[in-house]
């Protein structure tokens, strides 16, 4: 049955192609539409071809400060990338042996993937709000000047925002580490230890080079999931906005192809990250 190219074979190919068109078609449409002429609207037909809307976007389009939201999102994405890699790799190493609370940690990591994001966002917002009130209370009680004068909130992109996103990127990182170590040949490591290497040396010169290509995968998840993340961080970013938050606001207010230009740019950055990851993966594989 499996070697015969029957009806099922052609049906499945057709189905898969249709699915790919369904996946990419809409994004492709807005990429095309972002090059609308200056007179063009939100839908087809194309009114000429121009970079008009990208220029508009560059000037700020009169809406919000897209540029700084962009920079913030990329910076946060990079921080998330580094943290996700470091924490997932070290936790992944730890999980190869039994340790105190390993099962519990595994359970909460998986739960974090499936708990509705809005609940967690609310919880973290509450946590930081209560933290604020505690700090203000302490500030009043012991008359700590800077708290009384300057303190506003602990809710910030790099505190609560960062933490909220970590609960989303870390589970992916850890699951990838599990997948790596399921296929990992321990004998290299043992050989290295037998030859007198310390455990740090073994990690650095034996384990790391072997797992490095897959760690690229974790980095990719860390960056892209943070860069596009919205649901979890929506309530906890404090005063500043990241790009996805700005975008969400724009969906209701903007009625020009500027939003498509922004979409094209954002998607372009995601694709660039994926492209770099794949290239790095292939280079490291070859070594």
């Amino acid at each position: 049955m499996l070697n015969k190219k029957g009806k099922s074979y052609y049906f499945c190919w057709g189905f898969f192609l249709a699915f790919v068109i369904f996946l990419y078609g809409p994004t492709f449409t807005i990429v095309v539409l972002s090059f609308q002429g200056p007179e063009g609207g939100l839908t087809f037909p194309m009114n000429g071809f121009s970079f008009h809307w990208f220029h508009k976007l560059w000037e700020g389009g009169g809406y919000v400060d897209i540029g700084s939201a962009f920079r913030r999102s990329i910076l946060l994405g990079l921080i998330l990338m580094v943290l996700t890699v470091l924490l997932s790799v070290s936790a992944g190493m730890a999980f190869r042996k039994k340790f105190f609370g390993a099962n519990f940690l595994f359970l909460i990591t998986v739960s974090s993937l499936i708990v509705p994001s809005i609940i967690l966002s609310l919880g973290i917002a509450l946590e930081f709000r209560l933290l604020d009130e505690t700090l203000k209370f302490l500030g009043d009680k012991y008359s700590i000047q800077w708290i009384i004068n300057d303190f506003q909130t602990t809710l910030n992109m790099y505190s609560s925002g960062l933490g909220a996103q970590l609960t989303w990127t870390l589970p992916f990182g850890l699951l990838i580490m599990f997948a790596i170590f399921n296929r990992f040949d321990k004998s290299f490591e043992e050989a290295s230890m037998d030859l007198g290497a310390s455990s740090w040396q073994t990690f650095k010169f034996v384990v790391l080079p072997i797992i490095a290509p897959s760690v690229i995968g974790i980095a990719l998840f860390g960056f892209t999931l943070s860069y596009d993340e919205l649901a979890r961080s929506s309530q906890v970013m404090g005063a500043t906005n990241t790009l996805p938050l700005e975008l969400k606001g724009l969906t209701t207010t903007v009625t020009t192809p500027v939003i498509y230009a922004l979409g094209t740019l954002t998607t372009g950055i995601s694709f660039l990250a994926i492209f770099i990851a794949i290239i790095l993966f292939m280079i490291m594989r070859k070594k």
Binding site: S8, W13, L42, F99, L122, L126, L175, D228, A231, K248
Partner: protein
């Protein structure tokens, strides 16, 4: 078990989840019993937030209360999203495992399915607008072919567009676990069934589907939980007109009615956990990971 080196390696990871997962969830439960005014939240132990949510819900003589209506609507979205992602996800995974022969090709096609997951959800939602809008491609196409006479309004900002977006965004959550289950099926089982005279349909229903049940369940858990708590997709694709529990929580937060939002979150959490618990009854989830 003594606290060893491995515990220390996992410690930072542990602390992140204690501080950003465990404590927030516990606080949510605690604050759901608190009182609040327009500008502050007050420690207390009252059930008013819950009473308010279920206000008039158990008088069956009248119409359904808002809470029940919203949950019914959310369940409806869950079911539709689940149904379509399952059918599409299964077919795609089946194709990748059984019809793509070379591993290299399998990886490439698998990546093609995965790449959109790494791009922005909001953009992927917005990108339906030029297709589904009143003057969008679909309407123009249907009018030019004479299927409809005038532009249809229900393509965009409707239940239809919300479900479409869910399927568009989350089919991957089905493909990956089902793929993972299918690829472990011993191909000789299928050959044996074929040799014993089973037809393609019998092989599918008697061998392949039962063996990939764990993948189906894990995928279903992902899709259903993500739809249960959704407020973004329903908001953007529903034109901010369709209610969902996630949206109720979000709106209450914007009015700083935090204890009330927390009570809604607790109920949502309980219902989501019950759904997951029911689904895991069908498989041993630990064996699959």
């Amino acid at each position: 078990m003594k606290i060893n080196k491995h515990f220390l390696l996992a410690l930072p990871f542990y602390l992140i989840f204690i501080f950003f997962f465990i404590i927030p969830l516990i606080l949510t439960i605690i604050v759901s019993f608190w009182d609040y005014t327009e500008y502050s939240i007050i420690p207390d132990f009252i059930f008013d937030n819950y009473k308010y949510i279920f206000n008039k819900c158990f008088k069956f003589s009248t119409d359904l209360c808002v809470t029940f209506k919203t949950y019914l609507s959310t369940f409806y979205f869950c079911f539709m999203a689940w149904f379509f992602t399952l059918i599409i996800g299964f077919t795609v995974a089946y194709f990748l495992v059984f019809h793509v022969r070379s591993v290299g090709m399998q990886i490439v096609l698998f990546l093609i399915c995965t790449i959109p997951f790494w791009t922005s959800n909001v953009i992927r939602m917005i990108s339906w607008i030029p297709l589904l809008g009143r003057n969008g491609l679909f309407n123009s196409f249907l009018i030019s072919t004479g299927v409809i006479d005038e532009p249809q309004e229900w393509f965009l900002y409707s239940h239809f567009s919300v479900i479409l977006a869910f399927v568009h965004l989350y089919t991957l959550f089905m493909i990956v676990p089902i793929f993972n289950s299918l690829i472990r099926i011993d191909k000789s089982l299928i050959e044996a069934a074929y040799d014993s005279g089973a037809n393609g349909f019998q092989i599918l229903t008697n061998i392949i589907i039962p063996l990939c049940k764990p993948g189906i369940i894990i995928g279903s858990i992902f899709v259903i939980t993500v739809v249960m708590g959704d407020f973004l997709t329903i908001g953007i694709m529903g034109g901010q007109q369709i209610a969902s529990i996630g949206k109720i929580i979000q709106v209450e937060m914007s009015y700083l009615q935090l204890p009330s939002a927390a009570a809604n979150a607790v109920i949502l959490l309980i219902i989501t956990l019950l759904l997951i618990w029911t689904m895991t009854k069908f498989i041993d989830i630990r064996k699959e990971l």
